[in-house]
Structures are given as structure tokens and as C-alpha cells.
Homo-oligomer: 191 residues x 2
DNA sequence: TCCTCCGGAATGAACGTTCATTCAGTATTA
DNA sequence: TAATACTGAATGAACGTTCATTCCGGAGGA
């Protein structure tokens, strides 16, 4: 009878090792050891390493989406919704640095490119939330009339960069600074 | 008598293979084959793979810096200098997609982190140019009074993101769009 | 001019290591 | 006891690196 939490142990072990040492610095044997299982056991839960890596990614995407939707109300004004989403993204990244590092590794690898191509233009639930927002903003003239990918880059680019710097210890983000950053991002988007 | 262009061949081969397939998808044997040399020959020019990878990086950084400095005049107004630098960064990235991909691989790897740490807060010549700009801007009140890393994230983040999207074919940047993007970045920086 | 010799550049088969994956055997549960 | 979960040593493929050997072109003697 397979203990379902053994799967969790393996995922958790993989998350930490890959976030810290990269895909190639996290051999299956090491993942197994940290998880407290035999090397072969991993293959009872995941067909191979690629599947494990992709499952881990799906898991993290699910959690991030859930976090973004917490307290998100479609009926709020555009700017408020933007502030909510962006603050949530930044907060999630810096309070879950391990998750953030894993997601970065994933996106900057053949896995990530394949994933983006599959989803046609990298549309994830997160990005969809933003796209909806931006489309409304463009229609009502609040937001610059630029292609959706450009708007996404203006919104996400600084967030990801600054989250990375925070995690590497090059800057310390507090509430006030976060507000200033997101407000600056909004300045780049609004007409 | 060592033909100096053999070194070039090896670097060029490594650049293409690593940009396209990543560090781990570019074995030394493959780099040697594409360069038209024996596997052992590489080690006459580079102590090991790590050295080869770092030398390649230095080379690209040098070229990018040269490109940025073309026509750059310190006596120009702040905004003009910002537009010059940002346009140059974006243009360089999208006209040299191979270079861009290599630089991305490098930055998102242990090599890149080590490199940033060495240079204390990732100060490269490129970033120095921006920092000088931003310091002046903050002093004279033109630019928001935010930490230097934050200003860099606001300036670089969108550029890198949109360059990636362009290269992956998710958007096509023309002169007009580039101007709009950089102008939007400026909006996020100016007080 | 031709031949021989020599230094070092170039080579690529071979080596040792690492890794994902397998499987024969053991432990656990029902 | 039967069935299933688990284990970790064994496997073989792939990799970075080495090194005994080959190759090449210029120097020097006749």
C-alpha cells in the first residue's frame, strides 16, 4: 500500500535540491536520500526525472495561483486589482524563495520553453488574470495601447528582477518599498 | 605555430551550441566537432569547460559594452542618455539573439551568480553606466528616489523580458514599438 | 635543391566518474 | 500466505578530461 505522503516527501526533497543546486546538481540518488526513500522508490511515483520536474512545476503554479486569487475581486477598480495582483506576486516570491528559485530554474531551461510553447504564448492562469486586466484597461483608455506581451513585460519584468535581488540579499524589500515599486510599474502602464 | 583563429572557432562553436542547447546540452565533443578540431585541442586553448564558458562570457560583455558606448555622450540630457542606452541594449539583444541567449543562460546559472557576487552587487560596465545616470537623476530630482537595484530592475526587467519574447517569436519589435517600450520604462523611473 | 631531423600543435581513443534507471531480492501489509 | 511496496546494488550510457601518438613545417647539412 503506497503511503501517499512518500510522494510529498520526494517532491519536497526535489524542490529544495533543485532550487538550490539546479537540475543537474540534484541527482536522483540525492533526491531519494533527502526524502528518506530508496532510489528505486521514486520510480513508483514518477515515470522518470522529467515527469518529476514537471509535476513539481504544476504543483507550484497551482499554489501561486491560489495565492493570487486570495481576496481578488473582479469588481474592484482596475488599478486596485493591479496593485493586488502585483503585490501578491512579489510577496509570494520573497516569502517562498525556494519556490521562486525553482520556478526561475524551470523557466530558464528547455522545460520552460517547451512549456511556454505548449501553452501558446506562455498563457498561464497568472498571466491570464493580468491579460484580462490589461484588455479592460486598454479598452477604457486607462492603460497604454501596447501589445499584450509588452504590457506583461512591463508588469512582470521589474517584479521578477527585484525579487531575485531581494533573495540574493542585494536589497531588502519592506512594505513601503514594495508599494513604491508597484506604483512605479503602474506608471509605466498607465496612459 | 598555433593558428589563433582556432581559438575563435572553438569559442564560436561553443557560443552557438550553448545558446541553443544549454551548458549541459553542449558536450565538449560536440563543441570540438562543430569547430572542426579534435576534442583534445580545446584543452590547448582553455584549461577546462568552466574556463571556456567564462572566457566566452567576457568576450560577449566586451562587445555589448562597446555597442552601448557607440555615440554615447555624457554631456547629453539625462533622458536622452537613458533612451540611448536602453535602445542600444534592446537593439543589441534582438539583432544578436545568439549572444542574448548565451548571456541569459550564463546569468541564470551558478556561473552567473558567482559572477555577480564577485563583482559585488553585479556591477558590470553596463550597469555602471546606468548607475551613474540614476545617481545624477535622483540628485537633481528627475528620477524617483529609490534604491539603485530597484531602479535597475525597473529599467532592465522589461527590456530583457520583451527581448526574450521577441526572440521566441511571441512579438515583433519595430522601431516605433521599441520607442514606446523605452518611453514606458522612463515613465516608471521619472518622479 | 633535396633530404633529414625536430619541436610542438593537433588528434581521438581510452579512462574514470557520474548519473538515471532497472531489477532481483526483502519487508510490510491484508 | 499472497500481494504489493520498497530497497539499493548493479547497469550502461554519457560526459569531461588525459595522453600516447601522429602530423606539419621550418632549420640545417650536403
Amino acid at each position: 500500500m503506497p503511503k501517499p505522503d512518500k510522494r510529498e516527501e520526494i517532491l519536497c526533497s526535489a524542490l529544495h535540491l533543485i532550487a538550490e543546486h539546479g537540475f543537474h546538481g540534484a541527482p536522483m540518488a540525492m533526491i531519494a536520500e533527502r526524502a528518506g526513500v530508496g532510489a528505486g522508490t521514486i520510480y513508483r511515483y514518477f515515470e522518470n526525472k522529467d515527469v518529476l520536474i514537471n509535476e513539481m512545476y504544476k504543483e507550484l503554479e497551482k499554489r501561486l495561483t491560489a495565492y493570487l486569487l486570495e481576496g481578488y475581486a473582479v469588481e474592484q477598480p482596475l488599478r486596485d486589482r493591479f496593485l493586488h495582483l502585483s503585490t501578491a506576486v512579489l510577496r509570494y516570491c520573497i516569502t517562498n524563495p525556494i519556490h521562486f528559485k525553482y520556478l526561475e530554474q524551470f523557466h530558464n531551461s528547455p522545460y520552460g520553453v517547451a512549456h511556454r510553447r505548449d501553452k501558446f504564448l506562455g498563457k498561464s492562469v497568472q498571466r491570464d488574470l493580468y491579460c484580462e486586466l490589461f484588455e479592460q484597461g486598454v479598452t477604457q483608455g486607462t492603460i497604454k495601447n501596447l501589445p499584450m506581451v509588452v504590457l506583461c513585460s512591463l508588469a512582470f519584468g521589474p517584479l521578477i528582477f527585484i525579487a531575485r535581488d531581494h533573495i540574493l540579499g542585494f536589497v531588502t524589500l519592506d512594505d513601503k518599498l514594495i508599494n513604491n515599486i508597484i506604483s512605479a510599474c503602474w506608471d509605466s502602464l498607465k496612459s
